[in-house]
Amino acid sequence: MKRIRQLLLPLAILLAGLSVTWLAWDHEREVSEKALRAQFDFSLREAVSRVEQRVAGYEQILRGVQGLFAATGKLDRTALRNYIAPLNLDANYSGVQAIGAEEWVPAADKNSHVAAMHHAGFTDYTIRPAGDRTAYAPIIMREPYVGRNRTSFGFDPWSEESRRQTMEKARDSGMPAISGKVMLDLDRESSAPASFVMYLPVYARGLAPATIAERRASLIGWVHASFRMSDVIASLYGEQPQGVTYAIYDGVELSPQTLLYRSMDADEAPHKASISATEYLVVAGHNWMLKMDAHDDFKARFSRNAELQTALTGIGLSLLLASLAWALSTSRRRALQLANQMTSELRSSEEQFRAIADSTINWEVWWGLNGRPRWINPSVFEYTGYTVEECMVMPDLLQKLVHPEDLARVVPELDKGLQGKRGGDLEFRCVRKDGSMFWLSISWAPTHDLNNAFTGFRTSGRDITERKLAEAELRIAAVAFDSLEGMMVTDADSKILRVNQAFTEITGYSPTEVIGKTPRMLRSDRHSPAFHRAIWESVRHSGGWQGEIWNRRKNGKVYPEWLTISAVKSDDGAVTNYVGTHHDITERKIAEERIKELAFFDALTRLPNRTLLLDRLKQAIASSARNQTCSALLFIDLDHFKTLNDTLGHDKGDLLLKQVAQRLALSVRNSDTVSRVGGDEFVVVLEELHQNPDEAAIQTKLIGEKILGVLDSPYQLAEVEYRSTASVGATVFQGRQYSIDELLKQADLAMYKSKEMGRNSLRFFDPAMQTAVLERAALEAGLRKAIDAGQLVLHYQAQVMLDGRVTGAEVLVRWQDPQRGMVPPAEFIPLAEETGLILALGNWVLHTACTQLARWAMRPETAHLTIAVNVSAQQFREADFVETVCATLTSTGADPRRLKLELTESLLVDNVEDIILKMHALQEQGVEFSLDDFGIGYSSLSYLKRLPLNQLKIDQSFVRDVLVDPNDASIAKTIVALAQSLGLGVIAEGVETDAQRRFLADAGCHAYQGYFFCRPLPVEGFEKYAQAFDSIDTLE
């Protein structure tokens, strides 16, 4: 398509050019023809004109002669001669053969005429042809009298028809007349040239006849001139016109008879005339026909002949323009072709190499002397992802493609190539277009052109990534081989080829001892042949096997190992080697045991843990059911273990536990189970006791007491000697009497009972215990409900001062259970403490007390009253205790300064710092603290100094016996003194008598609380009391 379009313009130009050329040629041809025609016409006209004029000239001659005769009236020969001679007819008037005259001789005058002629000297003159006619007009003179003209006169033209007509015409018109083609008389030969005669009449002297009749009458004769046509024509032109032939015919007919003259060339003119024309001449009233033909000569001479030139020029120009246009339109393509041709020539020497290079899978680069690539083979795309074009336009190919770390190594080597040196085996990494990497190994050699001039060098590269990877893998394998696992490589027949260091370490065999042998040598007896067969079956079938196997070391020791066998197959799937790796799993096995142990054994004592115990218990029940034997369950709880932990520390506690465990383990039979189920709780399962429950009980009791005795001995806990006791609870069962849980509960209860009974004793489970437990549980639930249901109520015990003025009250919680009635605090407070309900309880108490404070604050008479709230250690140890108190104060709106928190000494055992912080925090609010039960607990006097207390409460135990027991009195006094010296307030609890009061007052204690003053009362009662006391006071 493009080619066609390219052709269109030149084609159009060619067509246009050819059209113009044709037009020009045609025009030129026309013009040429017309010019030729014109030239021909000119020649024709010229010829005609010459002939006419020549004849007119002849007429003039004859007129002269006519005039000559007319002047004398006589046809005088001498006069004619004299007239003709100077004319020099030959030269001037060539063509005139002769000029002569005829005398008109009527018949009558014939004889006289002849006689006159004879007389004149022409003795043999006769009128020819002889004969009688009516008239004669014989020629009587002829000049110039030379040559043929000397032919004798006497010829009578009047006798000849055509002449006669001519003579008649001349006579009648008085004008010259020419005859047709005649043969002159003087030409006697048959081949006489064509001739004609011109006649002019001569009339009698002096007469100018005007009519025909007159002319005829006055005629005396004629003068005539005779011409040879050839001479006439010859005299016309100095030279023949080129290229034309002409012929003159007499009349209008073209025939050989009428031919007067033909130009000489016409004889040998066989070729057709190109132009011919005919013209009729009227000469002296006579018609001649001039036929002129132009031949090739004429055309050649006169023709412009330009049409051929025009055509050729035009065609040439058209072709030229067309080819120019074509050349222009295809110039680019041809230029490219030319360039291609040139470059192909230029690279002819390299083509051979290229052909090879292109077909290789190697990556070939030809570098020029400037260090830039001249040519890159297409393999570059497969290698690097860059196309040839992209590579050629890169500013620095090496930098782009060679890995940066290898670049420093590669560039100097390639520089050697630039210097014309060969090289190879340069391995380096290359970076692909997508960033991935491959290894390339190149060699290089210098290149030369045809003249052996050094033109650069070429590099040929192979991708050796796989080889490098293989090398890396070999290295890895070599390293891996030297792993901690024992590795063994055998051939396909299981002959050992290679073993590593670890193998030697594990098995004890050195490589030389095993190479060539099979792994059989490692076998132990632990496994059956079937086991080994199965292994190899698996290897053959699935290419590998993994598992635990017991092998034998060189020293004979059997050890467990974890063995992995893999079959190594070649590319065609045939097994070439077996690789076995194993590691000694002895340690692992031990570890497994340990784990198992841990799962089932107590870490510290190594005794079965609860999980294992349950399992053993289950087995015991089952065995008991099976054998109908009784079994027993013993719960052993170390007494005061917690105290030991707190006082001596946990490490000692652990030592104790361990030793207890040891002692217990020794105290039971093999079939029995000793387990540790808790911090200081141990459970023993006695199996295969007597079938009789009672007997079994006795057996149990014996064993239990034995245990107690064992446990009672002193323990050596590091540097400390310790004595500990235990509480044991036992339950006997047979078969599946009870479930495991029930059994456990029973033993547990029994143990608790034992504790209650004073510890260091054994108690058997009593169903009655259950009841107590149940009751306890019920109570607990009831208490829980009570807190929420408002069954709790605060009783206020007045705290009085000096004279009995009520300063405030201590609140004591009472539980008004609808079913049980009033539950004494001694029952539910400990329960609350044990169950953690004390927190909710304490909070309720605090909240209620604060609410009451807020209420009292609104009445002036009660606004001064304080409330002392007991705070349990559990409560106080709560992390948010301070926030709880503050929140309660805020929400109730109670005045913090009216609130007193009573702490017990048991609180102070642990984490005193925290306690101090909390106390300070609350004290800042205005809350006061008093230390309850002071003197009976573990109170350390140093605490008193550190704790931000406000008041000490003398325990009622001291107050009760203050009058009786001097010790108590002293103590009470001391406490008071202490308080005073420390700046603390002091209040005595349990003041029941006035005497006590007085004593205390003397001691310095002026605040009292007790039945003497007021029992704990509901708020209404208290308020009444408070007011009454006031009123009484006022009364006094």
């Binding site: 014109a38 016409d41 005609v48 006419e52 009349g251 013209e279 009227v282 018609n287």
Partner: protein, 293 residues
């Protein structure tokens, strides 16, 4: 409305004919206008004419042999009578000679001949000659019956049709067109006089020739009339007149001679001459023409 003027004169190269026509028309119009005004003047002055042409020398006038216009064999013709009348009227001596038409035009152009007669004007001729019209006629094509031509268009198309003309003759427009076309096709035979053309026509060397009314007598001869047919050219009549050489005669002399001719026309002398040769109606049609072409 343009009055077409036939061309009579030498052979005109075909190439330049196109350019000539335009020029001819304009100058012709100009000339016609001048002539009209001059003619009016002349007519106005004709009554008071006192001076005639200068007769100090003998003038030359050439006749050519052309049918009724002049026959050399009988030495009679319209033109001869006209020339004698001219002589008589002007009182000048005029030497009458006989020449071929071609030669007459040559000498008129060169100034070697003062007068000739019955010439028609064309642009080329007007350069060297002046005219005084005294008659007009149409042109006809005398054609052999057996040529099979019926219309003028046939002659152009038939390649075998040859026509004969007298050298240097021009005719009316269509006739000129035909002759020119046939000339280009090399189908025209020229002659110095009418007689060979008649001969040629009779012997079927040519199949046609242009003729004018004063050729009638010859044409009427039985030989010719039997074998021929006359076809009229569809052109208006072409005026013919006294040819005066610009070179030999000064302009005022030419004007005098023109006045003379006008006088001859006006007083019926021309018509009288024509009536000697033609039937009165034909004579009238030839002589009565618009004064200014």
């Amino acid at each position: 409305m343009l009055h077409r003027v036939g061309h009579e004169g030498g052979r005109i190269p075909v190439i330049s004919i196109a350019s000539r026509i335009g020029r001819g028309r304009f100058s012709r119009m100009l000339r016609n206008f001048c002539m009209a005004s001059a003619g009016c003047l002349v007519l106005g002055m004709s009554a008071a004419q006192t001076t005639g042409p200068n007769c100090s020398r003998t003038y030359s006038l050439a006749l050519h042999d052309h049918g009724l216009l002049y026959s050399s064999s009988t030495d009679t013709g319209i033109d001869k009578d006209f020339s004698e009348e001219l002589m008589r009227r002007s009182g000048c001596k005029i030497a009458v000679s006989l020449m071929s038409r071609a030669r007459i035009w040559q000498l008129i152009q060169s100034g070697g001949l003062d007068f000739s007669l019955s010439g028609i004007a064309n642009r080329e001729r007007l350069h060297f000659a002046s005219f005084a019209w005294y008659f007009s006629n149409k042109y006809y094509l005398l054609v052999r019956k057996d040529a099979g031509m019926r219309q003028l268009a046939d002659f152009e198309s038939d390649n075998g049709f040859h026509v004969g003309v007298i050298r240097s003759f021009r005719y009316s427009r269509s006739a000129n067109h035909l002759i020119d076309k046939l000339t280009a096709d090399n189908r025209v035979i020229q002659a110095g006089g009418l007689d060979p053309l008649y001969q040629a026509l009779l012997s079927n060397r040519i199949q046609g020739m242009i003729m004018e009314p004063f050729d009638y007598p010859v044409v009427e001869e039985k030989q010719i009339r039997d074998v021929t047919r006359i076809i009229e050219f569809n052109d208006p009549p072409v005026p013919h007149g006294l040819i005066m050489s610009n070179k030999s005669l000064p302009a005022e002399e030419r004007e005098k001679w023109r006045v003379l001719v006008e006088t001859m026309r006006a007083d019926g002398t021309v018509r009288h001459i024509f009536e000697k040769y033609f039937p009165p109606s034909l004579a009238a049609s030839m002589v009565e023409f618009r004064a200014e072409p």
